[in-house]
């Protein structure tokens, strides 16, 4: 699903170039649950943003679901991202002024899903994540765990093949964190969703199938 070849991410600084990532070679197969680990500043978030097509200023080769990202223009990258990737954030990043229902609906509306179809898809998602009773609440009326549940539901609502999660339990206490990780595991095992997560936690990494470690922008063997 993902293939990185000799990917560098360089920041030109006054004192000389700074390599945030250097010579990254990575394969992620469909159905993988990959955890990226490493100390602060090791480049794991940088890598995640490259995988998520948020960052375009890298060198090397990057294939996503068979498409050569390094050859695509901005518009095509955006289409690729819309079609295949869902995001889960550490800070949930729910839209404060929208209800739970509306937050789930937003990715569908951006994909021009007809209104009548959206309703069914959102209701299915609410049902699946057991948050039907919360659909009219605003994010600030939910606990952190509930917000992240909505965040995951929102990431999945457009049925992406790949979920990228940046410290998804970073703002949650341990019980809530465990529940979220079990949900990820279930999604990966039962639904076949490919997941790449960035985490500091060995426990969380344990829920995945593979671990990649970074230090000083390089992958450790």
């Amino acid at each position: 699903m993902i293939s990185l070849r000799h990917v560098d991410r360089v920041y030109p600084l006054k004192g000389g170039p700074y390599y945030a990532l250097r010579n990254i070679n990575l394969e992620v197969n469909e159905g993988d649950f990959l955890s990226i680990m490493g100390p602060s500043g090791s480049g794991k978030s940088t890598l995640l943003h490259i995988l998520g097509l948020h960052d375009a200023a890298w060198d090397g080769e990057f294939h996503l679901v068979g498409e050569p990202v390094h050859k695509l223009d901005k518009k095509k990258r955006f289409e690729l991202q819309k079609k295949h990737i869902g995001f889960v954030f550490q800070s949930y990043h729910l839209l404060d002024d929208l209800t739970v229902y509306e937050n789930l609906e937003i990715p569908l509306s951006y994909r021009d899903v007809p209104r009548k179809d959206r309703e069914g898809i959102v209701c299915d998602a609410l049902d699946r994540f057991h948050i039907v009773g919360k659909k009219d609440l605003y994010p600030n009326q939910l606990s952190g765990g509930q917000q992240q549940l909505v965040g995951i539901a929102r990431a999945l609502v457009a049925k992406p093949a790949l979920i990228l999660a940046d410290e998804p339990t970073g703002n949650l206490h341990s019980d809530q964190g465990r529940e979220i990780m079990e949900l990820f595991k279930k999604l990966n095992q039962e639904d076949g969703v490919t997941i790449v997560q960035v985490t500091h936690s060995n426990d969380n990494a344990g829920f995945g199938t593979r671990i990649v470690r970074l230090a000083d922008g390089m992958m450790l063997k």
């Binding site: 948020h54 991202q81 937003i106 990715p107 951006y110």
Partner: protein, 798 residues
């Protein structure tokens, strides 16, 4: 789209402070533009209400020493007969007529017109008919065509008016038609009657006599104003060749009727339209700034939306929708404000100019308003939307949108907007300041006479009842005797022209001076006055004496001249006792008075001035001037009563104090000054709010930085200086740019200014100082807030 609209409304409702400020800013900007545009549309853009209005021209004659003179009657006949450029060309002359026999005598404003005038204007009568060329001749019975207003007033708007007779100046006229309300050429006329019917007046046959006749012509298709005028000038040249004594230097002139109707207001209203445009630009700059700040605060939201699949177009659309909702709301409020402003502007507008009174917030004005609202939404919304729609996903999503400061680009953009606002505001303030200075100078201009405490009234004695000098003198003597006996009256006198009234001009030749070359004879502004005229108007006698009983019919004809006359023709000599030919008859100078600004503050006297004694001339159309120590206006009813007691059929009109009449002559500059001052004030307020907003926003974004600085030992005064310095830098840049703009604006204002330089240093310095003080206050408030940051709280928030 509906979801985006719902979200936009929810966003605006969530921030009522921002929404209120934005709506008010837009309402003021759009409202001011709507109000002024409604006036501009009515006055400058609406065509004249006649068929083919662009082909109508108003015509007169220019003389070598006098522009816009009326047309000699024989010249008009030659124009009518020989021109090839006009389908119709008719003359008219305004006259006052006493209407009697229908209750209270009333003075009506009539126009003696050629039948061809109606052919030229081509607006059919609403009722009955107009007179024909066959009916417009000496000896024909008197016919009148009523204006819509007089028809309503005198006949209640019934068709029975046709065939009725009106007694005008003691003569009977038959009503044959009624013209529609929109027929207004010449303006302010109550009725039209035949022009040629009175052409047996011997004076009219003299080509050197210009008896108040002007003309309106309709150009043939294919003619331009230039070619049509050239055609008439060709005829003028021939007339001058055939009658060199009378017509040398006399030539046809004129302008499009539309320009003649609105020309006086074009520059002023264009300046006002430009001013409100600047106000709207300032409002847009403010809103763009507010939206930029708001977008920065919502950076995280846009980043999430982008991460969830929102394209840039989609984000721009959503933000523009918010701007559009604001702009439409501002537009609705603006229309309400414009409705109020329209009433105020109409109340302040020059009296009798119907195009001002017809100002309305109608469908085209509303269309322009909402078009403006849409453009405004794009102007203030597009840039912030475009900026917001390209969030830096990495940093926004990583920080949760809580970045410590904006990028240098965003800061520069906000600061550029403020510099623009300050510059535009300075331009408007300088414009308003110049007009205020000019207006002050108008009001304090020395006109040469003491207007305060003087009541003026106009009387026109009909020839039928007052055909001899004795009859006129008897009426005048009785009038003055009784008015002078009224309680509170200090003096009362008569004059053919009271100040600010159009007078008459005549040629003269000082004794011993070589005859003037043909067409080069200078003219004198004339007035025939009773003995105490100069005393009543507080005009000092510089030399010689005033008129008195010694200036009787059997005495030599005497004249009093103004200082300019004396300086020009008897420099260094005593003008008293000098002789000249004045208006064809000999006269001896008995006195000298100062030069008066007889046409008011705005026009410098172009002609020398001369006075004749009423005792020797007996004018039948004159002004009564009454000086009192008390309230001059309160004398009006007493004066009317006195006239009525002497002759119950004699109307008296235009009974007003001289102060009132001078004040009315300020109405147009007052309107421009008042409005520009309001718009400049508005701009100042918006700029101050804008400057405050930007600095306050920067302070709020830099709270952490200030907390750190304070924690590291910075003095609060250093923090204050830090913020103030930033604000003052913007102010200085704005003032510098604004000064250049003010220079350009001063040039545009040029002709609207009275005795005021278009770059008056005191005005420019004063308003720059005012703007500086207001801006300093706007900077100081956020600077003070920055200095009061509590480091503990600021750093804990991090």
């Amino acid at each position: 789209m509906l979801a985006d609209l719902k979200f936009a409304l929810r966003q605006l409702a969530k921030t009522p402070g921002f929404t209120a400020v934005a709506l008010l800013t837009l309402a003021l900007g759009i409202g001011a533009n709507t109000a002024i545009f409604s006036v501009v549309k009515s006055v400058l853009l609406s065509p004249l209400p006649y068929p083919g209005p662009g082909r109508l021209v108003v015509l007169w004659e220019d003389e070598t020493n006098f522009q816009q003179a009326s047309i000699a009657w024989p010249d008009l006949q030659d124009w009518q007969r020989d021109n090839t450029a006009f389908t119709a060309l008719g003359g008219y002359r305004r006259d006052n007529y006493a209407l009697t026999g229908r209750g209270e005598p009333e003075m009506l404003r009539g126009a003696r017109a050629s039948a061809a005038l109606f052919d030229a204007i081509k607006l059919p009568p609403q009722l009955g008919r107009v007179f024909t060329a066959a009916e417009d001749k000496v000896g024909a019975p008197g016919l009148v065509v009523l204006s819509h207003g007089l028809w309503q007033r005198q006949f209640g708007g019934t068709p029975d008016a046709l065939g009725k007779t009106l007694t005008l100046n003691g003569e009977s006229y038959t009503v044959i038609g009624v013209l529609p309300a929109e027929f207004g050429s010449p303006t302010g006329v109550d009725f039209w009657t035949q022009l040629a019917r009175g052409s047996d007046n011997p004076n009219w046959q003299n080509r050197s006599n210009h008896p108040g006749i002007y003309a309106i012509g309709r150009m043939k298709p294919g003619q331009t104003f230039a070619t049509a005028l050239a055609d008439l000038k060709r005829i003028s040249a021939r007339i001058a060749q055939d009658h060199p004594d009378d017509s040398t230097g006399v030539t046809a002139s004129g302008q499009l009727l539309f320009d003649s109707t609105v020309g006086d207001y074009r520059r002023g209203l264009t300046v006002l339209l430009g001013a409100v445009g600047l106000v709207l630009l300032i409002a847009c700059a403010n809103l763009a700034n507010l939206l930029l700040a708001r977008s920065a605060a919502r950076e995280s939201e846009f980043a999430v939306r982008a991460a969830l699949g929102a394209s840039r177009g989609r984000l721009v659309r959503q933000l523009l929708l918010e701007s559009l909702v604001l702009a439409l709301g501002g537009g609705v409020l603006g229309v309400i404000l414009a409705g109020w402003a329209r009433s105020g502007i109409v109340a302040l507008s020059p009296a009798g100019v119907t195009r001002f009174q017809q100002t309305a917030i109608d469908a085209p004005v509303l269309a322009v308003t909402f078009g403006l609202a849409l453009i405004t939404a794009l102007v203030f919304g597009l840039w912030p939307a475009w900026k917001a729609a390209q969030p830096d996903l990495r940093s926004s999503l990583a920080s949760g949108g809580r970045t410590g400061s904006d990028g240098p680009g965003a800061t520069r953009a906000r600061e550029a907007l403020i510099v623009a606002e300050v510059a535009l505001t300075l331009m408007l303030l300088v414009g308003a300041g110049l007009l205020l200075r000019s207006f002050e100078r108008m009001q304090t201009a020395n006109l040469g006479f003491a207007a305060h405490g003087v009541l003026t009234a106009r009387l026109s004695l009909p020839k039928k009842n007052y055909g001899t000098k004795e009859q006129i003198d008897t009426f005048g003597d009785r009038l003055l005797e009784r008015v002078r006996a009224l309680p509170g009256v200090k003096s009362a006198d008569l004059a053919t022209n009271s100040p600010l009234n159009t007078g008459w001009q005549t040629s003269f030749l000082p004794e011993g001076h070589a005859p003037w070359p043909a067409g080069q004879n200078p003219l004198a502004e004339m007035n025939v006055v009773s003995d105490g005229y100069f005393r009543t108007l507080g005009i000092p006698l510089l030399r010689g004496r005033a008129f008195g009983p010694e200036d009787g019919l059997k005495s030599p004809r005497t004249a009093i001249i103004d200082q300019a006359f004396a300086d020009k023709f008897w420099p260094g000599a005593d003008p008293v006792g000098q002789k000249m030919t004045l208006s064809g008859d000999p006269a001896v100078v008995v006195g000298v008075v100062p030069t008066l600004k007889v046409y008011g503050y705005a026009s410098e006297p172009k002609l020398v001035q001369a006075y004749l004694a009423a005792r020797q001339d007996a004018p039948d159309d004159f002004a009564l001037l009454v000086r009192t120590d008390g309230d001059a206006a309160a004398l009006a009813s007493s004066v009317r009563r006195v006239v009525s007691e002497i002759d119950p059929n004699q109307p008296v009109w235009n009974v007003r104090t001289l102060d009132d009449r001078i004040d009315a002559s300020f109405s147009t500059p007052r309107l421009y000054t008042f409005l520009l001052a309001i718009f400049a004030g508005l701009a100042l307020l918006l700029a101050a709010v804008g400057l405050y907003g930007v600095l306050a926003y920067q302070v709020s974004r830099r709270t952490r930085e200030f907390g750190i600085r304070l924690a590291l030992g910075s003095l609060t005064s250093q923090i204050t200086t830090l913020v103030l310095r930033r604000g003052l830098r913007l102010l200085a840049a704005g003032l510098a740019v604004g000064l250049l703009g003010a220079l350009a604006l001063g040039r545009v204002l040029g002709t609207l200014l009275y005795r005021t330089s278009s770059f008056d240093p005191a005005v420019v310095g004063g308003v720059a100082g005012l703007l500086g003080v207001v801006a300093l206050l706007a900077c100081w408030l956020p600077a003070r807030r920055a200095a009061r940051v509590n480091p503990l709280i600021a750093l804990r928030a991090d």
